[in-house]
Symmetry: C2
Subunit: 162 residues, 2 copies
DNA sequence: TATTGTTATACTCTATAACTATA
DNA sequence: TATAGTTATAGAGTATAACAATA
């Protein structure tokens, strides 16, 4: 048998010591939690890239969207819907208020509660954010296919109830 | 038409003011990033529940598994494979060393680098962790179905390359 | 000059306890 | 007594810059 025949493996790149060494992950490769974390990091990076000009974090945008679709909710309602601690919600909301996106108003029927609504500026920001975010979802669709993306959303939704 | 007929909707629970108010998420419902984050939180909670007795974080377990399947890797190799900053890896690794799970050894060929391997105790911990983790994956399979789980892993893997 | 591991530091998220004002 | 919002604080996880040892 002749050495270096045409069927031989291509020579490794001359023992390039700066090349990253290939690593076996073992069963980690099929840990759903591991795959979720890596995928979430990718999508998060995509989010920050797509929405950079607005300077909104995913959490902030989710709060704006919930208020937009449910004007008059209390802070506790928003926290319960999005799984945010009330204590962490306060500064987040105050920032949205400082930007002129949201308004807090004492609820007359229960003066302990604050009722939330968006300003016109806030609604414009949501509209702009949605348009920018659409590009990210398009990128995801190109990556997974339209049916793949739908399947993923459905599977993830089931997983929330684990 | 008769009121309160047998086909009428069941009466709402007497305006229970302590019940969480139902909330519309709007387009957020179909944000892949949002669904990823919520699903990841669920699985993370499941991980902590399943591996509580070992007291290993997902990051620590992933490091142990990579070392187990690639004994002799350097710290930088592990960091590159798992997307960890070298600066953050140092204390994480030192903790695994303090537990008696891993060993750092200067690589003679390049005395700047440390070569990593597991102790017997470390290999036992990985085996125990895998057994506990298997329960979590079984829970996930019950939630998604076996084919659903496989599809999810494949979709998430594609998404990493977004 | 460049790289490995390290330290220090900072920033974001998240979690808990305690306070206030209302109920 | 209990609840809504707030404050303070602490702990993860992650990011950057700078340093010593080594190449």
């Amino acid at each position: 048998m002749r050495m270096r025949s045409t069927r031989a493996k291509p020579a490794p790149p001359a023992a390039d010591s700066t090349a990253p060494r290939p690593v076996h992950l073992g069963p980690l490769r099929e840990f759903v939690g591991y795959r979720l974390r890596r995928a979430q990091l990718s999508v998060l990076a995509g989010f920050e890239l797509a929405l950079r000009e607005l300077g909104l974090s995913p959490g902030q945008l989710s709060v704006l969207m919930v208020i937009a679709h449910n004007e008059g909710l209390t802070q506790s309602d928003v926290c319960a819907a999005l799984g945010i601690q009330r204590a962490n919600f306060t500064p987040l909301l105050h920032d949205l208020e400082a930007r002129g996106y949201a308004i807090r108003e004492v609820l007359p029927a229960d003066r302990r509660s604050n009722t939330l609504r968006l300003t016109l500026l806030g609604r414009e920001a949501v509209a702009r954010a949605l348009a920018l975010h659409e590009r990210l979802e398009k990128r995801i669709t190109r990556c997974l296919g339209a049916t793949g993306r739908s399947q993923l959303i459905e599977l993830l939704q089931k997983l929330e109830a684990l």
